[in-house]
């Protein structure tokens, strides 16, 4: 039983990475009906920018130019990185997606994939193939709750991601821009005629999604401090699966499906040999989609959907 709870904590942590990344896919989809296939690599870029910012702040702090406690460095890193990475996302939208808005959807998928490859290779070319390690900003404490061990890192990761999701929810539900986004998701054709600037909204969606991915990248760097240029590939595709599983364009669904995928992976690895993890996880995904072909919260399939 203790073992079970221990794994629930692990799954929550693992799932929060997936959920944060899946949110970016899902938001972009709800506005543009397109998937941003460079999103996994934006997660990677976010982790690297976070690495740069954190290293820089720590260096400044240790040189005595500005005295910052570690928690403040973490908060600043998170904010600055999210801000910077959102521009990467907007750039991707400007280069790879805006020119292709009226093209067949698959073409935009290809540009997304190719931008992803460019980001990976660019990173390799700039920083080299050496893996970098994220600076330890938090000294690890382990708390014991009746045999269940929880590190403070895991708590921070889960709380920060939940807080970000809540903030996103509030933004989308309460703010004027959020309302514009929801309207755009509701009707892609008529809403621009009402004076909602589609380009701004699309860029903003990419920016917010990328900022969330950057947050996921930093949190990932805290939990697993070794970064490499291809870390975004597998994460990106898995989060894409989660976004679809949740029902395309559904923010709630993407969050839940992200956590679900985390749970499936952790618990499969707990019960079966870990080499079977992908096999069983994807078989479950396949089964879910065979019996619920439009995910948890997606609208039902009709032959009229835009393709």
């Amino acid at each position: 039983m203790v073992f079970f709870f221990q794994n629930i904590i692990n799954a929550l942590q693992w799932g929060s990475f997936y959920a944060l990344i899946a949110l970016g896919y899902s938001m972009v989809y709800s506005i543009l009906m397109l998937f941003n296939f460079a999103h996994g690599d934006i997660f990677m870029v976010g982790a690297y920018i976070g690495f740069g910012v954190a290293t820089g702040l720590t260096a400044l702090s240790s040189m005595g130019m500005i005295i910052l406690p570690n928690w403040l460095i973490l908060v600043l890193t998170l904010l600055i990185t999210m801000f910077l990475t959102s521009f990467v996302g907007m750039l991707v939208e400007r280069i790879g997606y805006r020119p292709l808005r009226d093209a067949p959807r698959a073409s935009a998928a290809i540009t997304g994939l190719m931008i992803g490859i460019i980001l990976e290779t660019g990173n390799l070319a700039i920083l080299g193939a050496k893996r970098v390690s994220f600076p330890p900003l938090i000294t690890s404490h382990t708390y014991n709750f009746g045999g269940v061990f929880i590190t403070n890192k895991k708590m921070i990761i889960v709380f920060v991601s939940l807080a970000l999701m809540l903030a996103l929810h509030q933004f989308v539900q309460r703010s004027k821009w959020g309302m514009a986004m929801r309207a755009m998701a509701f009707d892609y054709v008529a809403v621009p005629l009402m004076g909602v600037p589609i380009n701004t909204i699309a860029a903003m969606t990419f920016g917010i999604g990328s900022a969330l991915a950057a947050a996921a990248g930093i949190l990932f760097g805290i939990a697993y401090p070794v970064l490499d240029p291809y870390m975004g590939v597998l994460f990106g595709w898995k989060a894409f699966v989660a976004a679809i599983l949740g029902g395309r364009g559904s923010i709630m669904g993407a969050t839940l499906a992200g956590f679900l995928l985390g749970f499936i992976e952790i618990f499969v690895a707990m019960i079966f040999p870990s080499t079977l993890r992908d096999l069983i996880a994807y078989s479950i995904v396949l089964l879910i989609l065979v019996f619920r072909p439009h995910g948890f919260f997606g609208e039902a399939y009709s032959a009229k959907l835009r393709l």
Partner: protein, 431 residues
Amino acid sequence: MQTSHGQKRSLRQRVGACFATVPLLGWLIGMLAAVFLEQYIGDALAEGLGLPKIPVLFGCLIMLKYPLLIPSTLAYLVTIYVIPICLVARVLAAPANALAGALVRLPVVAPTVAHLALLYLVLYWWSDISAYRVLTLKLTMIAIMMTLSLNVINGYMGEFSCSHPGFMALGAYGASVFTLVFFARDKLFGAPWLPPELGPFLFPVGLVFGGLLAAVGALVIAVPSFRTRGDYLAIISLAFMFIVKSVIENLELVGGPRGMGSQPNLASLATVFCWMVMCVWVINNFVRSTMGKALNAVRDDEMAADAMTVNTRKTKIVAFLFAAFWAGVAGGLFAHVLRYVNPGSFSIQKLAEVLAMVYFGGLNSVVGSIVGAVSLNLLGEALRPLELFKWIIIPLLLILVMIFRPTGLIAFREFDVAKLIRPKTKKSSEV
């Protein structure tokens, strides 16, 4: 000013007019002359021009590695390729036209086979220079098969299928197990069951076995495609790809993650060429048949197609199984060309490669697929000296193509063999 512009244009027109009467047969004969020339004087010429050896891939590798050798490489290319091809093609235009005219009167199979035989001769002698050329050619032909079969689903049927590496893996492992069990002494399966001399004759059976295995696997995707399409089908096919890879990784019987090696050397250039031709021929006929038109109907509007008595379920299932079969055959050839397979070679990267070839070349077009596969494959080889930057240049190129021609270079065009091989007299070229 006006006159100089006019002169330039007339020069271009004159060059164009000069070669307008050269039929495909003439070009092929010209190429044959060029590769003959390279065979006999290539070494001497390369040495004379100060090149380390015969430029393997049209000099791209040498030019990128040693920029100082660019002039001599260009001189080599002009002497060996450009001048002989143009000269022979132009001089022999009249007899080639006569020959092509005579061939056209026969049933369409005869001239096609004649052209293909010539093409094979050209490729054979061209690749005879080095093993690297042979390997590049074989892999390019396999890429053509992969791209074409993916185009059936993604282009003609309009789904976004991500499962092709999975089909390819099934075919590769199926065919490899077949040949290893029957014709090779192997540490996984022990002594061969049949005398290895039978290998070349039964190799097609192995490939078909691999293809059928892939087709059976495709049922996993075809059946859900009745109820869903678009993104959900993309995910189902993506999940299928991951599942296939993971199953193979966990099957110790076929070597697990270490892969499987020492396949018998059965995939010669001729074998791969024959299968490639067969693939192009069958797929070209398939997409021009009633079934191919039904695919297009399902892509454009499934409900309307259903109302027009197109059996959408049958169409979808046939298309998936058919495409998967050819992907499986391509996979089998791939395994026997490299003589080693491991699950890692059928992953996301392969998927990105194949998708890029399909969308670069052009959707819904057999010629487009061939162009896409050949150009991206050769480009990948030619830019090899740039190492990392190759992976920036090729994606940039693809993004540009997608922005300016969203459906690919040569999309929505039919591949008409009869038009390609007909003689080009003055009259028909004016039409």
